[in-house]
Subunit: 601 residues, 2 copies
């Protein structure tokens, strides 16, 4: 299908609308302030003085932070005619500095201009092409939103330089970027400007990966094999997602079946063997990476927010090839759980990593150090602060993920109150999803409407006849309202028995929302609660969370007396577990948290 | 009670007899050879030359390795009139070198003689007093076994020097040893020589701990508080056990109730909150230490073999105060599981750490390293090779743990075919324990016999009337055989629900033996096996292991198809799990291993 771009979709109300509003009103400013305070924007003045101890040395990836902030502003502007002109002024100011400080030949990079100018294009792991890619995405978005093409001019010039250096002169000291991103950005550049050399350059970077003899030719860098031979999601999980997204976009543009095949294998390996129930990916902090199939530890989970966003990008790119609801299922899973967990309820702080379990009592340290535990509270900024501006740019573009068109069929991939208009087709969706499962759809301009029946949904009803195709209920469109009711009764979810960390455990989902329990509501030793198969939860709408909380009748195992081990079954007491949406955890102070629980049978 | 010394107990047959024989015939030689090859014994020539690259630099704790080997030889000699004279010759040779190279003033330490002679007694963490303690234990044992008092003379001289430097002159750069051991050794010296200054010196070291302002006054070194205020088993687990043993021995000698009280609290905290089902202690490799209550991860378990041996020493010392079977229960648990696991079936290689779980498939590494996993195969020698000669000295002295006398009662603490004669009392025990639970006891010379009813035992029968006192069945001794039958039916054992690592899991025990399952017998994904409450195991004697193996009917959860998470319960299939004694794991190549399993209800 062709997925509709966000600018043809207007979100009108509901949970995700609330997150977009939070971003527009709070998060975009908060990220700006933190970036300003930490010297990121100031570094654009190119006045770093290494002899002045008060001068802040820019980091090699600050360009990308700045670029993603500008890109986010562009999307906010695009979404809202009444946007804050101050945001645009800030972005204009940033762009003016980029333009001013761009090298004569088109090169632009803060660090390699003011700190180590002699080292440009000497090390593939120094993020120059990664930064360039983000600047290109920002340039396109800003031109598209404002008609101001200064940044786009700069980035075309830069892209032309990169083409010359890498493809024509081969004068860089490496062949392919260590951190993929420019591949997908160049395809966007091609699609936006029509200049084929950008597509060629993207293809060059993708095709040469794992072939040339350069540093870090290992799987952390997705360079252990030529991309068409890669079949296991491996290495740094964000790099992987950005690369695979670029590969899928390239395969679409050049019609490359072998590249598409690799993408399918990589997507399958990610989702069928290496994904948490929250949609989070990347099990280990070591290299922020994938590990091995079914290795999904909960307390040590890394599951970077950016990797979750990357999985959304990759999955949406795959929808271009295949009208299969599984891609939209994964987008929904990761968006509502492992991505939104990255943003605090007040819109100001962020998780870089998103653990699925916190046991504060085990966070010991001694004179020799402590075990490595993921962070337990969100921060407003990180030294490597890629996730915050990735959230600010994903939120205004959520519309990218809702709808698609293929031939005479209109696809409803996500359930969000919104109106879409694209290519003569008009769609209106009304729903309070995910608070409840009623979705009313009205489409004009296609013969058929395909509504995704979510993977999590075991029961639904539809007011029309339908056929079931690849996860979609396909309805002949008579122009009348299509009303679908998805059964959102909270239920027990099991993990594949090959996942040792979840052996014998279950979690609770209500619709697409994964639940957790926190110590602040339930006391310590969360592992000693035992759920029942029929969970019979009491549902309450929480103003604070904007979602439903659950009170789940259960039993709790009681501590032993007199010894740690016994042939007598632990006594239990009847109690109830208060569960909240996983994405809301850690908003009420530092406390224990568990997703996977024991069950009584 | 007064526990009988091993030299009044003759082990006559059975499983532990086999281990003693293995030690006497194989292990003691194998350890000698490895110590010889690595230069440990050669270092006694004091000819280390730092300018010669071929000269092997001795390590600061090589003295203790050598001492424990000599001590082991002494016990082997003591047990067996027909001992190998070659062993004695080797020990004599070692002792001659110690005598020859002892300093004029009594000091002896290889490292601080030949590598850094200027640094003697300058750092409490450099193991000098630890080495001295082990040399003293060896000296006593060797004099006792052979009547050759050269080493004892040397060590009395050394102890006198330590007394002068630490108590009188206070000229050392520290006050108390960083690695406890000399405390218990000095009490043995006092008891063996009758010289009270050794008791005073031990008391000095114990009393000053955590009081003086010296380096490493932290809990890793058990120096965070004065010992009488310590109530949490903390820090390096071997140091802790050696210190607590010394404290208990001192409390006994000087009748110190507050010190005894601290020992009780420390023993309780160790056993009630920080002990694995195998009796292993010390959850983390970081500082080889205790962590926090109920933090007992299985795959990351450290549980050093020496710490298990230390728990035997400490528990036996506590029996001197209290005729309570719980101390003997813990000795049995750790001996049959977490200590004997440290020795390979061929008697030649050793575990320093004893994990409770191995998941080989998760042992990934990438360019940024890998998670820390415990070792999966035993080694013949370690750079820090404390455990092997601790096994060689614990095995010939197992008789120390079997029996006790208090007033007119003879205590049977462990069930081993053996004869004991002590202070006019004669005891004979016949049993095939732990192969089966029948134990026949005959005691002459006491009015009562108290037979421990093991904590693990829910059913037993006895051919005599008895009263039940603190875990012992107390029988009026009429001189006839006492026959006890302990029900050894394999059974499910639960962990305290506060142990998050074992939540919802169970293990299998048969008598005192903890069972595990290995991948070599059962394939991969051991976590997907589900045991039944009534395990109905088939028992088979294994020649290879010298113990019973089990075949346990169970179910196995089958992998999902099409996705990692589902609201449908995993399918299961009927199968059987082959279980072997935990202490026999990792004797058949590198393979997965699990102790704690899911259960079906």
């Amino acid at each position: 299908m062709k997925t509709l771009p966000f600018d043809s979709v207007k979100v009108t109300s509901g949970y995700l609308f609330g997150k977009q509003e939070l971003n527009r009103k709070t998060t975009i400013y908060s990220v700006y302030d933190r970036f300003e305070e930490t010297g990121r924007f100031g570094s654009l003045d190119f006045n770093y003085d290494k002899n002045d101890p008060n001068s802040v040395q820019p980091h090699i990836f600050w360009d990308s932070d700045i670029a993603k902030w500008v890109e986010s502003v562009a999307y906010i502007i695009k979404n809202d005619p009444d946007y804050d002109r101050e945001l645009e002024a800030k972005a204009d100011n940033i762009i003016a500095k980029i333009k001013k400080n761009q090298w004569e030949d088109g090169y632009f990079n803060i660090y390699f201009s003011v700190v180590e100018p002699g080292k440009r294009f000497t090390n593939r792991d120094w993020h120059e092409l990664y930064c360039a890619g983000h600047l290109m995405e920002a340039a396109i978005a800003y031109d598209d939103a404002t008609g101001k093409r200064d940044l786009l001019d700069c980035m075309e010039k830069y892209a032309d330089l990169i083409y010359r250096i890498f493809v024509e002169e081969k004068s860089a000291e490496f062949v392919t970027p260590g951190h993929p991103e420019i591949e997908l950005a160049l395809i966007k550049m091609y699609l936006y400007t029509g200049k084929k050399k950008y597509l060629d350059l993207s293809e060059f970077f993708i095709n040469n990966r794992g072939i040339s003899d350069e540093i870090n030719n290992n799987n952390i860098f997705q360079s252990h094999k030529p991309v068409r031979e890669q079949d296991e999601a491996a290495g740094h999980s964000v790099r992987a997602m950005y690369l695979y997204t670029g590969m899928a976009m390239l395969a679409k543009q050049i019609g490359d079946e072998s590249l598409l095949n690799a993408c399918r294998n990589l997507w399958d390996d990610t989702v069928l063997r290496k994904m948490y129930v929250t949609g989070g990916i990347g099990s280990t902090n070591l290299g922020e990476a994938f590990t091995v199939p079914f290795d999904l530890p909960n307390d040590q989970a890394y599951t970077e927010t950016c990797a979750g966003i990357g999985l959304m990008l990759f999955s949406n790119a795959m929808l271009a090839f295949e009208n299969n609801a599984r891609y939209a299922d994964v987008i929904e899973r990761v968006l509502y759980n492992g991505v939104l967990s990255g943003l605090s309820l007040d819109g100001k702080s962020f998780f870089y990593e998103n653990p699925l379990e916190i046991n504060l009592r085990d966070h010991f340290t001694n004179a020799f150090g402590g075990k490595r535990f993921p962070i337990t509270q969100r921060l407003e900024c990180f030294s490597c602060s890629c996730c915050p501006p990735n959230i600010t740019r994903i939120l205004p573009t959520l519309g990218n993920y809702f709808y698609g068109i293929d031939g005479d069929t209109f696809y409803i991939n996500q359930f969000v109150s919104s109106e879409a208009e694209f290519d003569g087709v008009y769609c209106k969706v009304s729903t309070e999803y995910p608070l409840n499962g009623r979705v009313t759809v009205s489409v004009k301009g296609t013969k058929k409407v395909a509504v995704r029946i979510p993977e999590w949904c075991d029961n639904f009803s539809l007011n029309k006849d339908f056929s079931f195709e690849n996860g979609y209920a396909v309805i002949d469109n008579d122009g009348e309202d299509i009303v679908i009711d998805l059964d959102m009764t909270p239920k027990i979810v099991y993990a594949d028995p090959r996942i040792s960390s979840d052996a014998g455990k279950v979690c609770v989902m209500r619709g697409p929302i994964v639940y957790c329990a926190e110590g602040v509501d339930n006391g310590e030793f969360l592992h000693s609660f035992i759920l029942h198969r029929e969970i019979d939860a009491t549902e309450t709408f929480s103003e604070e969370f904007g979602l439903i909380t659950l009170e789940v009748p259960c039993r709790k195992r009681l501590p032993f007396e007199g010894g740690l081990y016994s042939s007598f079954k632990p006594q239990t007491e009847k109690t109830a577990l208060k569960m909240i949406p996983y994405n809301c955890f850690a908003n009420r102070g530092e406390t224990d948290m568990v997703v996977w629980f024991c069950m009584d049978k």
